[in-house]
Amino acid sequence: MANQLIVSLSPHVHGGDSVQRNMYGVVVALIPALLCSFYFFGIGAVLVTAVSVVSCLFIEWAVNRYLLKNPVLTIADGSAVVTGLLLAFNLPSNIPLWMVVVGALFAIGVVKMTFGGLGCNLFNPALAARAFMLISFPVEMTTWPVAGHSFAVYADAQTGATPLAVMKDAIKTGDTSMLDKLPSAFDMLVGSTGGCMGEVCALALLLGLVYMLVRRIITWHIPVSIIATVFVVTGVMHQLNPVFASPVLEVLSGGLMLGAVFMATDYVTSPMTPKGQLIYGVAIGLLTVVIRTFGAYPEGMSFAILIMNAFTPVINSYCKPKRFGSVEGSAK
């Protein structure tokens, strides 16, 4: 008997949290937006999502098994599913499927596994893949089907300009009346507009945010700081010059909600402390507005997040938590 006792150091109990719980929690939080994308973009959205998730899982399994020779089945942790879903969310629903496979290969094969797999990557795999695809397939990546018009068709869907493209045109021409072409704030909230499949329905994304906050998968710091920064800065700009769209439309357009709720909050590539997360969020918000206003691309969210991913290690080394005993109310 005595020889059979397990002797290990404390603590002897665990809270029960796990990587799977968090990753599949994110998957559940993505479901409302996923259903919205199926509703608005039909069969194309279903195909792109399926191909993206399956490719991500397969590539991670293959790299792990044949290149890294790791006997542990890492795809069970759920992170590849999350990457697959987020990658699909960042694509137009009529993109050729082989391009989706190339994107998955870049996301998992290059951005994630090259650095050592889960927890080691510097950049958000899905976003880095989106940037890669935007450069590689500029036409296919920026041809947006119109929501609700292409339920059963895939490749030949009717296409149209996204709200962000309209805003960009208004800024370029200085013609305020162009902004009249924008959909209403309500349409943008529910997602009845053009864009990447997962980004259009702000309401569904916010529902996911609430779920993740309630289950304590993420904290409020990153999403709130991004959204608040964009709202305040574009609000001031709109007041100064009406050629800039109203802050409500800015916040609801493009990948802002998707980025703020699901992409910027990726554990691996975002800062560890609340203070660091606020700095990171505010910087992403500012960069997004700068790129949307002055950049060549109409959308700035993904580049803003990727740029701040690169700063995350620096933020971590400067934003230390408040040490016990170093605050006011300590020794007299």
Binding site: M1, S8, P11, H12, V13, G119, Y267, P274, S330
Partner: protein, 445 residues
């Protein structure tokens, strides 16, 4: 409701034995009394093989100021002085006594009658500290720091309050809870004695609000004891840590080591210690028995037992229904900070607050996954440290980095490892880093 400000977790409470009144544990056949049941110099044995001893007789004298004497917990004959593996896992010298009858020293007042402070008007602070010292009292929450040393704060520090630690934040343990329900007056007289010992007129008894019956009883009883206030606290681990408790109760933060709680004007004593102080000063009874929670989900009858020091844990487990077949781990103390025992013959010592049985499934750790940098350990750390960074730094032997990131402030509460979704052995590494860095700092002077 009050609590500490930084971090913390809330483990499942599992207070299985909270409704079990304290029972007397049977006397052991052989009592094994280690001479080092406290922090500081080991006590020096003053008995030899063949000597007859009585309950309460000194068998080992204090080995210095930071030390405590050891008293016999039984009457009988000294068998030998030999080594025994105690709860720390190391072999330590101990006095083995063959139990014969139960004959107590005549000086001990064995009556149940309460003696109030007013009945001894001439008692000075010095008298009290001297009695505590000679009774061998140490911190009974588990740290085992000699109580008389804590009551002799360094010159220059002004003590304002006594804070009684009755939070019992470790899951499973209920010994302090039962003690308060069954001996409230004795504890409050003990607190009054501690107040007189350090010459303060304010004391707080801090109780977590998962013990509403104890809060109610103590609050009601405390009315007639001047200066004693019961403070209910929100349930959060590690509230029983000295620094966290001071922060929770009086909102002051003790600076980084080597600063002591006295530097912010507080002296902390465990509620069990306050009871022992009462018995030592008012009843002339040295510290040779204590309440121990014997518990576990697989145990037939989780209980609170009044146990003589030196009783082997196997006997307490038998008293609670016997060791279950599928036992995987036996822990001395609670599940968050307790120590896994090497065998069931480890004797109960002054700091043994509990014996916890875990079955094989509970006892095993999960396989660790890679760090996903979620920051949950940082949010959980009650000292404001970065456990992921410290663990990583320790694994790579980056001692300078660990020192710069305050590894020596770690209180080893385990909140980080408890929280980690990747089940990483964070505290194993941080402990290793802390002890190495502490050694490096010491070697500089």
């Amino acid at each position: 409701m009050k609590t500490f400000k930084i971090g913390g977790v809330h483990p499942e409470e599992n207070k299985l034995s909270a409704a079990e009144p304290i029972r007397l544990a049977p006397l052991p056949q052989v009592a094994v009394l280690p001479v080092s049941q406290h922090i500081g110099a080991p006590a020096k044995p003053v008995v030899d093989k063949g000597d007859k001893v009585k309950v309460g007789q000194v068998i080992a004298e204090a080995g210095g100021f930071v030390s405590a004497p050891v008293h016999s917990s039984v009457s009988g004959t000294v068998l030998k002085i030999d080594s025994v593996i105690d709860a720390s896992g190391y072999a330590k010298p101990a006095v083995f006594i063959q139990v014969e009858g139960d004959e107590w020293e005549e000086s001990i007042d064995r009556s149940e009658q309460l003696v109030r402070l007013e009945e001894l008007p001439g008692l000075t602070g010095k008298d009290i500290v001297a009695k505590i010292q000679s009774a061998g009292i140490v911190g009974m929450g588990g740290a085992c720091f000699p109580t008389h040393v804590k009551l002799s704060p360094p010159p220059g520090s002004k003590i304002e309050w006594i804070i009684i630690n009755a939070v019992e934040c470790e899951p499973y343990l209920t010994a302090d809870h039962r003690l308060m329900l069954e001996h409230a007056d004795e504890i409050l007289v003990g607190v009054s004695l501690l107040m007189r010992a350090v010459d303060v007129n304010k004391a707080f008894v801090a109780i977590e609000n998962n013990k509403p019956d104890a809060i109610e009883l103590m609050t009601q009883k405390a009315r007639i004891y001047p200066g004693i206030e019961v403070v209910p606290l929100q349930v959060k681990y590690p509230q029983g840590g000295e620094k966290q408790l001071i922060d929770a109760v009086v909102n002051r933060q003790v600076p980084a080591p080597p600063a002591l709680p006295a530097s912010v004007g507080a002296v902390i004593q465990n509620v069990g210690t306050a009871f022992a102080v009462y018995q030592a000063v008012m009843k002339d009874k040295p510290l040779f028995e204590r309440v121990v929670t014997v518990t576990g989900k697989s145990l037939a009858r989780p209980s609170n037992l009044l146990v003589r020091m030196g009783t082997p844990m196997s006997q307490l487990i038998d008293e609670c229904g016997g060791l279950p077949e599928n036992t995987g781990k036996i822990i001395g103390g609670g599940p968050m900070m307790g120590k896994a025992l090497l065998n069931v013959e480890v004797p109960i010592c002054k700091g043994s607050s509990g014996v916890l049985i875990m079955d094989e499934k509970e006892a095993r750790r999960s396989r660790p996954n890679p760090c996903i940098r979620c920051g949950k350990c940082v949010a959980a750390c009650p000292m404001g440290l970065e456990p992921y960074l410290l663990a990583d730094g320790a694994a790579h032997e980056m001692w300078d980095m660990l020192e710069a990131n305050a590894v020596t402030s770690c209180i080893e509460c385990g909140s980080c490892q408890f929280t980690c979704p990747s089940h990483r052995p964070l505290l194993d590494y941080v402990r290793m880093g802390k002890s190495t860095v502490t050694g490096i700092i010491k070697s500089r002077t």
